[in-house]
């Protein structure tokens, strides 16, 4: 009788250990997430400072797009051009790494300048990871926000 009790106790202990271990494994960040964090963490700030083939930086074009729309790059206005440039770069960095994302660039007045989505529907809340917001000032005096969200 005593031995049966010991067997039951050992089985219960094993069960709790398994349950605790499974829970712990779920909460541990995977090594792959370090790599993804490096890629996505500084992508926004680096992208904004990039000089485009139009001779202006992405930041300058976004500022123009959000305000006076005076700049044109060839046959395209600043909004179209900067949108295409950002898509070009993110396709060759995030999309090619299999990362699903959406980017929202807006002015502090709430006007959305650019919105880019790749494999991720912002209207369907899921397991999202928002990269810390990047705020920047434009030469037109306004403040804009660059928000990258990763969908997992």
């Amino acid at each position: 009788m005593g031995l049966i009790v010991i067997v039951i106790l050992i089985t219960l202990v094993l069960f709790f250990v398994l349950a605790f271990d499974a829970n712990k494994a779920q909460n541990k960040p995977s090594p792959a997430s370090f790599s993804q964090d490096k890629l996505t963490g500084t992508l926004g700030t680096t992208l904004l400072e990039t000089t485009t083939t139009c001779g202006r930086s992405v930041k300058e074009l976004l500022g123009d797009c959000a305000s006076y729309k005076e700049i044109s790059c060839g046959t395209e206005d600043s909004c179209t051009y900067v949108n295409n440039t950002i898509v070009n770069i993110t396709n060759r960095t995030l999309a090619i790494s299999g990362i699903k994302y959406f980017i929202n660039i807006s002015s502090t007045e709430g006007k959305t300048t650019t919105f880019i989505e790749s494999g991720c529907d912002p209207d369907k809340p899921g397991n999202w990871k928002t990269v810390p917001l990047t705020s920047f000032s434009t030469e037109y005096g306004s403040t804009m926000r660059f928000q990258l969200t990763i969908c997992t």
Binding site: L3, I4, I6, V7, I10, T11, L14, L18, D21, K28, S30, P31, A32, F34, S35, K38, L39, T42, L43, T45, T46, L47, E49, T50, T51, T52, T53, S57, T85, N88, I89, R92, T93, S97
Partner: protein, 161 residues
């Protein structure tokens, strides 16, 4: 009486067998968890090693931008990068010895993506038996101070350990 003793003895043997089986299962499970944890720890170590090498490379005076007013981005001077790549490539003995202490068995590439496309291999050395590697990517700016153009690039670091 004898039969009762036999039944009790049988029960005890059954319980002992079950306990032994449970202990063996526990040991097998523990061993497989240990293996899994070691694999994860190794992968994490590789990633951290790549992060460390990236931080070292992007802060090298031989690479970083000298005049750029950084807003916190990583900036590499394209002419410095090409010069360093050339020096390491041509002087395999001393240059590799000098940078091996920092970069160990790894490969460091600067892959320029926009507005032009170009690849600069800064360092590549591997004397370990491990030929496979994982690559980490870090967005950086590659500045051309002559034309005043900041290109979007990725610093690709692969570690072989």
């Amino acid at each position: 009486m004898k039969k009762k003793a036999q039944i009790q003895s049988g029960e005890s043997i059954t319980v002992v067998i079950i306990v032994v089986i449970l202990i063996i299962l526990g040991l097998v499970f523990g061993f497989s968890r240990e293996q899994s944890a070691n694999t994860e720890a190794k992968a994490q170590q590789e990633q951290l090693s790549a992060v460390r090498i990236t931080e070292l490379a992007t802060n090298l005076d031989e690479l970083k931008c000298s005049r750029y007013e950084s807003t916190g981005d990583v900036c590499i001077d394209i002419y410095k990068a090409k010069a360093l790549a050339e020096i390491i490539k041509e002087d395999k003995e001393d240059a590799y010895k000098n940078y091996y202490e920092m970069f160990r068995n790894s490969q460091i590439n600067i892959s320029i993506i926009y507005p032009n496309v170009e690849n600069i291999q800064i360092y590549d050395y591997n004397d370990s038996i491990n030929k496979s590697s994982k690559t980490s990517f870090t967005p950086i700016l590659v500045w051309d101070p002559v034309r005043n153009v900041k290109s979007f690039a990725l610093m690709e670091v692969s570690t072989y350990n």
